[in-house]
Symmetry: D2
Subunit: 341 residues, 4 copies
């Protein structure tokens, strides 16, 4: 059987573990030929393929990024995209497709599945907001990086009345922000889940600095927004590629805090540092399990499903169940972050 494999969307650490697992299990257990597409769906439409073998996956477990390359291109949003996909699959005699990606790629996968292609998807996103799975590939490494940065900021001299804002990724959900805040003992965390009232933020900081501290750390998810009708109005700027502008919300909050408290406030934006480097053991294991489960599922004839972690188990979830949903941080975690600030 000829099985195509692609990675789409932004790259994250752990993708190579999943690719390696697909190749090892696909060749070793089933005797499949694995065909790699370069640069995500773009490579499918363009017919940019190569036979992906054991020589490509040596020593990749510890490597960030993706050996297949990736692109932010989605066939269903471009004219003739789906047709291009089908044409390439036929030309290359590819019988099934495994695609690893986030929201956009999963959506494309369900469209391609509807067109009759046998397809299994694997979720990855450092935001961890894919519905239906406890964890997506890349999230754990990002939390590790954010936590280490927060630890570092925490040990610097505690200057009088200084506020340190550290902005982390998380457009629709504050997973990285909340978990790294708990792990590092940050004082305040602002997330998309709970729009903030700048007056309450300021009140909290003033009280804390008056009562028993000279220093506060505020973790801000890039997708944090002020409460509608509250004292701070804000229109999030949009980047060239529709992405969130790094640092925008944090710089705005900084101005508000400085004006309202007089506290010296500094901003650090972790940015792309969160997406790169050596994957944690957790992301390598998750990638390995998802890759193995995906090729197993394809070989059993499954289609239109996504591998998912549920507790200790890897299960399959229909792609249609997860479409259009965002997995936000549950109330219990938000409360722990607040309680331990």
């Amino acid at each position: 059987m000829r099985v195509g494999l692609l990675t789409g969307g932004g790259d994250v650490p752990g993708l190579n573990a999943a690719i390696r697992a697909v190749v090892k299990q696909g060749e070793g257990e089933y005797g499949h030929s694995i065909i790699g597409f370069r640069n995500g769906w773009r490579g499918v439409v363009d017919g940019d393929v190569f036979p992906l073998g054991r020589q490509h996956i040596r020593n990749v477990l510890t490597q960030g990024g993706t050996l297949l390359g990736t692109a932010r291109f989605h066939p269903h949003s471009s004219d003739g995209g789906i047709d291009g996909v089908l044409a390439t699959l036929e030309a290359e005699r590819i019988e099934a497709l495994i695609c690893i990606g986030g929201d956009g790629t999963l959506h494309a996968a369900s469209k391609v599945a509807e067109a009759g292609v046998r397809i299994v998807a694997i979720p990855k996103t450092i935001d961890n907001d894919v519905w239906g799975t406890d964890r997506s590939i890349g999230f754990d490494t990002a939390v590790g990086i954010a936590t280490e940065a927060l630890d570092r900021v925490h040990t610097t001299a505690e200057s009088h009345n200084r506020v340190m804002i550290v902005e982390v990724m998380g457009r629709h959900a504050g997973w990285i922000a909340v978990t790294s805040a708990i792990a590092s003992g940050a004082e305040l965390v602002l997330t998309p889940e709970e729009p903030f009232d700048i007056e309450k933020v300021v009140k909290f900081l003033k009280h804390r600095h008056r009562a028993h501290a000279s220093f506060s750390i505020v973790v801000v998810a890039e997708g944090a927004v002020p409460l509608q009708g509250s004292a701070m109005s804000y229109e999030a700027p949009v980047g060239k590629f529709g992405e969130i502008v790094a640092g925008a919300i944090s710089e705005r909050i900084k101005v508000e805090i400085e004006e309202r408290t007089g506290f010296d406030t500094r901003v650090t934006v972790l940015g792309h540092v969160q997406r790169g480097g050596i994957p944690t053991h957790t992301d390598r294991i998750l990638g390995s399990r998802f890759g193995t489960a995906a090729i197993d599922a394809i070989s059993r004839g499954e289609t239109g499903v996504m591998t998912a972690l549920r507790g200790e188990d890897v299960v399959l979830v229909p792609l249609e169940e997860i479409a259009g949903k965002v997995k936000q941080v549950p109330a219990e975690l938000l409360q722990v972050a607040r309680a331990l600030a």
Copy 2:
């Protein structure tokens, strides 16, 4: 309310996060007084207590070990132990007890609960073999350390026909061995779950070295045992404190491999290095959530239960349900380790 707190058994990274959470949530949310016992159950019997306050938990999130001290002493296994516990609790007017520990401590907790004490337990063990919870505090950090060591061994020059044995912890279950083997791409993993046949091990190594490799890494859980009736007989030596003797099984396997293959075989025993140092974000978050959940449960009047992770949720499990059970590595994980070797 006066709530006692102790840590028992071997120390692991992440204990301080749980202690911190109990103190912060206990004082801040409920106004309890938290009373710390030094050196586990030994401190309870001896009345070695002190008021545990906010000054003790500053900057402890990143610290390994336990600020309370610990000991391998269990009241139910010593004459008058339970009576000593009850006497101290009465003398100190302690109304409830939170105890953090592994098998032994959890067993002691259920005995003390039977004697009428309100008690909530928190599971910790780097072996991850406590029944009823997906994860115990300390396991994630240990896997991280083992994986990093395996990565290092992996990048050294691949000498001709050398076998590297790396022994990790895991007496009754091979959690660290299996997960670090998957994360690092080790060639073979020997665990308590699947007694090994030395002849198959040797056959695998010979085939691999003949076919396409000059180097193999074998991860051995300290509790690995040969298959009954197989070619290698082995009686595990027992240490002074009933513990497994570090390196014993690995040194024995080394001799067998060298005799049967002629391959130069080296042993590394990670030992205590696995128990120490900065906890990972995962262990800090788990400790924080378990600590918060335990004091919440105590405050609601729960007793005889253990905090547990199930998927994304923290739940409570009756202590009696977990008694005498060992959570071993599930078949799916063992298969992934085999498939990706």
Copy 3:
């Protein structure tokens, strides 16, 4: 003998190792009493002192920051500052002073020495620009952090024609920029030592992207400046405390590159993350050696000198020799960075 000890200026990892060494060697070898001043010279003027003993230095080797606190206050720049210092030293019967700091503190130390106080200084600065010593405390840890961040940025997907600017510390010298650029294999590094010509920067990037790459990493020291009379004029903004405004030069370079090349350009500013966290072994050893050498020198009657690393040796350098000088990156290192880009 009563010996005073202070840390001044911004905090860096490794200060606690030096403090620990002064206390251990001072008490253990000489029987001195070590008197700690809180918050640098501010504490000397204010008489904010405490007896610094073994109980304060437990487990501090791995801790960033300074257990003494610090402040950006210099007695010679404030009315009656030196007199205040002398008054406190007399009131507290302090016979000698060890001060750990950067430029400002070293300058203050030489002024206080001129006033007749026995004084030995220890250099610290993550910028590594103190004259007369191969290394200052804090530099090695900062390079490690910058290198790790650059490694991470390097492994993310290599997007078409994207330029990543990473700004690191270094106001008057590009030590962190040049060394982390070499360590991580960055394509270009801009430093205070060599004012840059934006047209050459742009030409280099265009050529590289046309010839064989789709991605470039540019490391910018915060003190980088454009060449006088070149195509880009720039007036560095100055912060409230006279400090360099983080990100200012990088944001300006980003605009120039985008306008002149059309390449998508992103900025990451490492900022305070560089100053914190666990010191590397190198900074702990340097702090330990400098602390030991300082108390040895004080005990021998030395004054007006600074401990310095020269090759493998720790030596003493007269404070007057280093005044007003900045140690910049030597030509050989700049050339290595260029050759290996």
Copy 4:
């Protein structure tokens, strides 16, 4: 010009940085062809060569090991070895040779130079005992790994009267032992430089445990030896390849301590973990500088020299000057280790 390049002896982190620098600077600056030999001198004698180009050195800065392979084979110790070297160099029209290695390789290099070959050497050894240079490639990474392991051991519960022995590399010199002991605050360090008296070791431990501690960490260099004529006699066992047997001296010391004190004593042998993994920034920079300096020297016509670090400078040292010498740890460092225990 055709320049040959080899790596000999045990592999260490940082070799790839040196290889990369030779290729980049050799091709880019001088237009040389770089010819790689596989597996050290073995590959020279066997004629196992390949043109080493830019495609081989992508992403190698962060990789441990050596992309050229290595072997513990030395031409001057085998019949016709030197003739074999000369024959291959002639057959391959190689005009100059750069060899990266430790003692054995440097010795071979001087023999080959005597035979009329233009040769420049680069020192590497995690033991740091090559004469004439402040640092050799690989040492810094090994110290980092040893320090991290000691930190971990240090944070585990301080059990009553337990002694932890941690054995690190260092056959003829105790560089790793002394520096990691200072960095981690270990209580005692035993090195080849200062033969130990077991009775003094025991007296120190007894006194410490009686006075104020319940736990001691002893760092042992693998080449540590008892003082001649002291209470403990010891004949170091020799391995199959003439190497030191890992753990032998430590296990022996453990027995002595347990018998003489009754303290529970445990041994951890770091072993091969010290040789692998990601090089530190320091080793990457050192490798990059040495590689650049070596190809510069070759191109200028130098021969019979070794690149060396002296303070901030890279210099050249005649190979004949270093022959037969071992650089041991200086007295000042040994004293710091003792003072700060």
